[in-house]
């Protein structure tokens, strides 16, 4: 039995209970809220519950460039805000998303008060459920957004100290957080995190020290990992699943399964493995636009 699509309203798909920031708060505070909640934009609402703007990752990057994290949110927010009524249909929302390149819209009631927020992913997700084409149960944290086209390319560098076992994975972890903050889609974040983690583990197991550099742009994420180790004698052999030269002590800890390079290859769109005069260099390219 199919319901009329027009019956699905914004209030049915929106996220209720809005996390907002005060206009007099600092950009730093807004950034912390967004980081801890994993949001790429939050509405700016004053104490009279009046919507003044939205502050997004792009605004925060602008503040970062000016070294102005202490500045007030109201100075960096985007004040031209488009809202949608809670009683509007999801069809109207889809048109709005199509016509404007925003990732989210605040939802207002008839009195103009903000009652929720709706993302592109919320609408698509609920429509999928409505149409019975969803494969996975939805949950609150699901916020699948397309790649954010707005962010400015940036470089992430991380020194890898081999045998510093306790800290292994922190480079990948930092990279993951940066990508998530930039609003990169989940699949790309996951693939980048896996590739970076495995590369980091390889440096720890096989080399003395190394360095991870990630060039991040909306079109391409390039992770370069260079180490000062023995390199690889037979690269095609090392690419095979199950082939490993890791020492026993690492194997006991669950490493050295011979899955590192195969995992990286599977996660990457392109992978170059080359011996250098110092050690090994991996160039891992992940291209978000390839994702359907």
């Amino acid at each position: 039995m199919k319901k009329n699509k027009e019956q699905l309203l914004i209030k049915d798909v929106m996220n209720e209970g809005v996390v907002s920031v005060h206009p007099e708060a600092s950009v730093q505070e807004a950034k912390d809220i967004m980081r801890s909640r994993g949001f790429s934009g939050i509405p700016v609402i004053d104490k009279d519950n009046c919507l003044l703007g939205i502050i997004s990752v792009a605004d925060i990057i602008r503040a970062l460039e000016n070294d102005a994290l202490e500045a007030l949110v109201k100075e960096y927010m985007t004040s031209r805000v488009i809202t949608i009524n809670a009683n509007a249909s999801v069809g109207q929302a889809l048109r709005l998303f199509h016509n404007h390149k925003f990732g989210r819209f605040p939802v207002v009631n008839n009195e103009g008060e903000v009652v929720g927020i709706v993302t592109h992913g919320d609408v698509i997700g609920r429509l999928a459920v409505f149409l019975g084409i969803d494969e996975e149960p939805l949950d609150e944290e699901k916020e699948q957004e397309p790649i954010n086209k707005e962010f400015i390319p940036q470089i992430f560098e991380y020194p890898i100290r081999a045998l510093d076992f306790d800290r292994t994975g922190e480079g990948a972890s930092s990279l993951k957080k940066i990508l998530a903050e930039l609003g990169v889609s989940r699949d790309i974040v996951r693939r980048s995190a896996i590739a970076a983690y495995e590369a980091e583990i390889n440096v720890m197991i096989h080399a003395r020290e190394g360095k991870m550099t990630a060039n991040i742009s909306p079109q391409e994420i390039t992770i370069i990992v260079e180490d000062q180790g023995p390199g690889i004698d037979n690269i095609p052999l090392a690419m095979r699943k199950g082939y490993s030269t890791a020492a026993d002590k690492f194997r006991q800890m669950g490493f050295g399964a011979g899955m590192g390079l195969p995992n990286i290859k599977k996660s990457a769109d392109k992978l170059f493995v080359e011996n250098t005069c110092k050690g090994l260099r991996l160039i891992i390219k992940i291209m978000p636009e390839k994702i359907a």
């Binding site: 076992f165 306790d166 983690y197 495995e198 899955m259």
Partner: protein, 116 residues
């Protein structure tokens, strides 16, 4: 399925005290001790069953968005593991039960099967 509801029905103990957030949803389960295998196959939202107790498991869970880890067969996580998990907000549980028994209980509860 909410993690709180799951652990209420399992023979496991919380490793550190922390209230489970309402929106902690478990979508499936992965069992493994080879970290690269876990990296390759565990999915976001899975609860992870393992015997590896060193702190790198937290890094793996954090990278893959695995909300919780269950240490089975009486394995207990190391102190550094616990501290790092608290920091990253990964829930830890321990049990004397086997991976098989825990996984079977999860399956009976409906974890990883389509919810309606």
């Amino acid at each position: 399925m909410n993690l709180r509801r799951i652990v209420g029905n399992l023979q496991v103990e919380a490793v550190y005290n922390s209230e489970i957030k309402d929106n902690t949803v478990i979508k499936g389960c992965y069992i493994g001790d080879l970290l690269s295998n876990v990296m390759a196959h565990a999915k976001s939202g899975d609860i992870w069953i393992t015997v590896q107790s060193h702190q790198n498991v937290v890094a793996v869970a954090q990278l893959l968005n695995l909300p919780a880890i269950i240490f089975v067969d009486g394995h207990k996580p190391q102190q550094e593991t616990i501290e790092k998990a608290e920091q990253e907000g990964i829930y830890l549980f321990a049990t004397e039960e086997t991976a098989y028994n825990i996984a079977a209980s999860l399956y009976s509860l409906g974890v990883g099967r389509s919810e309606k």
